[in-house]
Symmetry: C2
Subunit: 530 residues, 2 copies
């Protein structure tokens, strides 16, 4: 496996700038070869122009072409074999079995979107037939369906180096919608990015789609990302990362002369509420499950439960002790990159200084700084302090959670009302608990994108009903998901055709319904022809 | 008919500020009684808090409750009878037959959304059933559907005093989605607004929905509008009006700590392209149709064709003469309010000063300033000047259009490529023209929300397949429509329920599908139960 270290613009190595960077392996804190070249602003411009040109053809490509292309990407990723997993392991510190699973998810996502576009009903086709005799004015024939937006910017995330990076969910859904994609590779895993970009490049060749449909750019700072989002030809962007970076992209996109949507997934505490009956029935089991959820992937999931509420009681104290013991016994783990590890420790240190908050447990094993480790850590406070101190509402990304005890249901309600928007909210509850807790449920129904009963929020199922999104600051736009088939809706807009001859209509809108998609025909959902 | 001149907050007359204003009737330029009280910032706050409180109940209201409420609003508007039409006529200058038609459209929209929520499939329900035996990890039961966003701000528009004002399309779709509505009444027709708000208030009483579900506020400047959009409890806003005002609201909403969507419809030239074959076959007929479309409602439709392209030829010259003659013969008309009339004349004067643009026709009848009249006006230029002067890309709201002649298809293509986003784009073409013009069609497919062949863009059908929206600056968000059933999508977001007991699920997500809605069940669209 030889890496060239360059950005790829429409199938060509980019004329990159002379600035280079080396990723640091979190496994041993050593720089990795080769040097990666940051791209130049000219490469950004070139990638967008190539994407725009490719879009003219790609937006009119058949569903079968797009589906085959997505499947070819999955095949080419698998064909990278162990090289990909090994490089990714060294760049991210993630264990090989996790990466094998994530590769499966990545290919599964690509195939899910292939199936979605083959089936075709996602375009939400609607037809109202003409009524030439209608009085006082005749009714024209009107048809509409979703069409792709145009070039989409995808920001690779650090915590899913395969499933939410170069060929991840955003790329798959945007290509499925008919949009060219320009990926800004995450600087922490540029080699992984290059390998996957190569796989996409081979799929482009194999399927004969225009080269400009895909580019991947390297850049170590924020300059390239901002330039991509501000480029006049960019039509939308998808991002997963920090709140500061996400908001900066969102603000840049909205300040454009012609604003574009930025779907940024940024920060979530994923509150988990343990109600008294559940605590009595299976407190210890919940403590073990919580430990697994908080420490899974060294706490680097956006759905990690970072906030645990209970009503103060001997049972909640016992639960806290069980959970603390489990976290003490849990080993530190290698985090994704030095920056995340530093931010984790800084966050924990800052929280320690907040009056009224106490550290109740940390791993019995000392973290190894050379291995970029973060240690499982538990803090505790009460609702009064939680309400008074906004610092306790900040996400700490890593194997950390904060236990919050309430003196009453009313206090618990006040605490939940004070929360910002969330990706998820979880209840552990018996049926009797739930009967009493409907107010709490209704509060969180407004705060979160996904509500879970008697489970854990980590482990985001990729399926049509998944909603991975939530009110700000969980995301910049609660109306859209980044996981599941509905993710395709981010990259499309309706186009309406009035009084069009049949041969100029897209297949999905032709009267005979050649693709057999579900349509709204004169107000009725049907697969019938006109 | 007695008007009180106050804002209405959740069924109560507002404790308005001491500042008052009188609307000016465009029919005679005289102030109308009574004095209308601008609301105070406290009223804004009060309206939002009442809406928030009402939302807790209203969001859980049944589809039947919402449908009956929308129908009751329509009934109460009709029950206002001639008083409403007369007041509206005096406030807006719009003729009674137009207003009778618009009232029908308004009530029709309310009933359309009633039918939509009764049918219920708009919530896009999705269910993936559990697979407890799946390895390596079991699959949980996951269900999701659309839920209302919360309090919505609706800005009354001046050009549709009924159909896009107090009980217009935005209000109807937001109430249908389950959102409380706070209307900022347009200052040009406050009496009409008060009457319709009263009708909604009676429907609230009749249907027993919470009073906070509806408020209507008066304000003469931009202060109240901005305060509404910046209020922390506001969740979204809908606006139709000028580009400057729309962008100001959009920017204010995005600068919030927690940004919210603003759907602003702002400005569109609605290009109309006449291809050579059509010109030869029926140039004169097109000229007459264009005159009707440009002067309809004194040119005060957002879909008025403000830009007409043709390839320079004797036929296009003849067309220009026919059209000029028709426009000369067309009478001036009373515009909606003095501000719009002034802006129209200022726009025409400014365009006259642009080198390379000539006035080719205006109405033979002098406009009557006391009657706030605007006169049908035609200017002409060529593509070279059109490309060079961005001032020619600005909308002039009123009975104005600009003819642009191209020397070649290539020049026409360049002109179309230079256009900003549009609500509509229209071709007059024979089948042979269209066969040659597919490049032009593809260019405008990216620029416009609705494409029309051999018709005119004015007259926006209210139906499921309508898309009334388009790329910026036509609207701030090309992905959504303000007309047609899909307008409801602006006010909702998905909520996902994982492992929920049946009795805590919304009806649309229960296994037996009690409402019989179309759902995506394990990836298949069906009305079957689980």
């Amino acid at each position: 496996m030889t890496l060239h270290g360059h950005s790829l613009v429409a199938g060509q190595l980019a004329a990159s700038s002379s600035r280079t960077f080396h990723p640091i392996s979190p496994l041993d804190s050593r720089p990795m070869e080769p040097a990666f070249h940051e791209c130049a602003l000219e490469d950004v411009d070139q990638a967008l122009w190539q994407a725009e040109e490719a879009f003219a053809l790609y937006r009119k490509s058949s569903a079968e072409t797009r589906a085959a292309f997505l499947e070819a990407i999955a095949d080419e990723i698998l064909a990278l074999g162990d090289d990909l997993l090994q490089r990714c392991h060294h760049e991210t510190g993630l264990p090989l079995d996790r990466l094998t699973g994530e590769r499966g998810r990545t290919c599964g996502q690509l195939k899910m979107f292939a199936a979605l576009v083959r089936e075709g009903s996602w375009v939400d086709a609607r037809i109202d037939t003409a009524q030439p005799e209608r009085t006082p004015v005749p009714k024209a024939d009107i048809r509409r369906m979703l069409a792709p937006l145009g070039p989409v910017i995808v920001f690779g995330s650090s915590n899913f180096p395969l499933a939410f990076s170069v060929a991840g969910g955003d790329t798959a859904s945007a290509l499925a919608a008919g949009c060219p994609v320009i990926v800004k590779a995450h600087r922490a895993h540029p080699g992984t990015s290059e390998l996957v970009a190569g796989a996409i490049g081979r799929a482009v060749e194999k399927c004969g789609v225009p080269h400009g449909v895909f580019s991947m750019l390297h850049g170590a700072g924020s300059e390239i990302g901002i330039a991509l989002v501000k480029h006049p030809l960019a039509r939308a962007a998808g991002f997963t990362g920090s709140r500061v970076a996400g908001r900066a992209l969102f603000d840049a996109a909205n300040a454009r002369p012609e604003p574009i949507p930025v779907f940024a997934e940024m920060s979530s505490l994923n509150p988990l509420i343990i109600l008294p009956g559940a605590l009595r029935e299976r407190g210890e089991q919940i403590a073990q499950g919580l430990r697994t959820s908080v420490t899974m992937g060294v706490g680097q999931f956006c759905t990690k439960p970072g906030l645990v509420f209970g009503i103060g009681s001997p049972e909640f104290e016992k639960f806290g002790e069980d959970f603390a013991a489990a976290m003490r016994a849990a080993a530190p783990g290698t985090m994704l990159h030095p920056g995340i590890c530093r931010a984790f420790h800084d966050g924990v240190d800052a929280m320690e200084k907040v009056p009224g908050v106490v550290r109740v447990a940390e791993s019995d094993t000392e973290p190894d700084a050379a291995k970029t480790q973060g240690e499982p850590t538990v803090f505790a406070t009460d609702v009064e302090d939680f309400l008074a101190k906004r610092a306790l509402h900040e996400e700490i990304f890593g194997p950390f959670t904060l236990l919050v005890s309430a003196r009453s249901f009313a206090e618990l309600e006040a605490a939940l009302k004070s929360l910002d928007g969330q990706l998820t909210a979880t209840f552990h509850a018996t049926p009797a608990d739930l009967a009493e807790a409907s107010d709490l449920l209704h509060i969180l129904e407004r705060k979160a994108g996904r509500l879970i009963i008697n489970g854990f929020p980590t482990g985001v199922e990729v399926c049509p009903s998944m909603h991975h999104g939530g009110p700000y600051p969980a995301t910049t736009d609660a109306r859209f998901t980044s996981v599941g088939t509905a993710a395709i809706q981010r990259w499309s807009r309706p186009v309406c055709y009035q009084s069009f001859p049949a041969d100029l209509l897209p297949a999905e809108l032709r009267s005979e319904n050649p693709r057999g998609v579900m349509r709204t025909l004169n107000g009725q959902l049907t697969r019938d022809g006109v």
